[in-house]
Symmetry: D2
Subunit: 143 residues, 4 copies
């Protein structure tokens, strides 16, 4: 991976793609930070994203982390798709916001390994310990 | 795991819980089959569940598989929560319906291992090869 | 993946490579069956491969499954290396032999997804339920 | 998890158990550091632990990481066994020593989540970037 795409162009492309995806548009994913090798995204938690104890549904936690993984990979590899991931749920995702931080561990030609930590809370600077961690394999899509 | 709960009671409990979960109610998850050790669930694919190429979004595929894993585990262990899972995306999930089949591999006292295969298609008998496979660890919740 | 290598050539190459690997030579991995899309391998269990309760050590179960995953992938993609895997340990691996069956789920250009089931027993036809299951991502190595 | 065992007792117990395990005795696993919530272990790389390109075999990297995961979990939960893990191989494990650092992410009653980073090198203070990362689920064994 000799050259990475321009982060501003990646951000613009991701925001455009995201708006055109029924699911991500519905989730209302916002980019808080994006640089070569990493991304931070957030969503606001609402009724439709909850499970029966009032916390965010595991499917939402997984989906947000999956998005963070592929977007972090996109900062080093352009167009990508998630090939596989593993997620560990560490505690209930309670609060009004959910934040996922994706960090590229290795940018290979065939596979980008990404670590994601998901935090729940009420925004601001202190998110506390992660509610979930993910390791993802994201594949560059041939041009 | 000496005794498993009555499948009819499990099914009724899952349908009640699911209706009370904002996310699953929104997904409109239906139970096609449920027996001790396994479950088959389906959803109808619609615009809000798609990514930008028109197939089901990976987050939806993962969330449906996660639900199948925990519901399969519930048939042998009662109240549970997903502790971790790994999912491999094998091909694009195209069609009008998504189906997830969860099968308990091992019902331990502390952890239930479940395999899930997700299929996409237009319903009927022939779903073709899986679009995703999952291995999940589901933890019984103490009573 | 339009063409797969000749299974006989793959088998010969794997046996040659394996003999040249300190670790696999020490494990004494034998190929029971190999065809395009799958492989079955076995080892004899001995004192050095055990944990303290007399069953095969988890590290050995994982290593054998890892080998089965990469060799199954080699039948469709030639030279490969394991990028990542997930393993679930289902029960203690007791007996005199350990057998791993690797099956290719998807042969992509950048990643081959392989499922492996590991069985323990005393050989013969009846291996019983798997002691471990694995999902692996194996990457073709550029020529 | 209200109380953790005394780290000195855990260390003594692990060293005794390890010496009685054929495989770990053969690997010659040494404890560099052990405290409540974490462990660092090392092995010396030798011919029998290699693959055909001279680096440590993936099976050895996985086995050492698996040991670090279960030993880190033992510092908070006493007697344990690894239930499942996911490992990503980031680069070839070259050098004369292999080091695995296990850190407990969550100590639940039914499952301990552990993150492990494996480093290769020639010892000393600078190990460089990890050659592999693991997320493991370790189950406490009932007393």
């Amino acid at each position: 991976m000799n050259t990475s795409p321009d982060p501003q162009l990646v951000r613009a492309a991701l925001e455009q793609v995201s708006a055109s995806q029924g699911f991500n548009a519905w989730l209302k994913v916002g980019i808080v930070d994006l640089h070569t090798g990493g991304v931070t995204i957030e969503i606001e938690l609402r009724e439709e994203l909850s499970q029966h104890h009032g916390a965010a549904h595991g499917g939402i936690v997984g989906a947000l982390a999956d998005t963070a993984a592929s977007w972090a990979a996109a900062t080093v590899a352009g167009d990508v798709r998630t090939a596989s991931y593993t997620i560990h749920f560490l505690k209930a995702a309670r609060g009004t916001r959910l934040c996922a931080v994706g960090t590229v561990l290795k940018a290979g030609r065939r596979q980008v390994s990404v670590e994601v930590k998901v935090h729940a809370g009420d925004g601001g600077d202190d998110w506390g310990a992660p509610v979930a961690v993910m390791l993802a394999s994201v594949a560059p899509v041939a041009n």
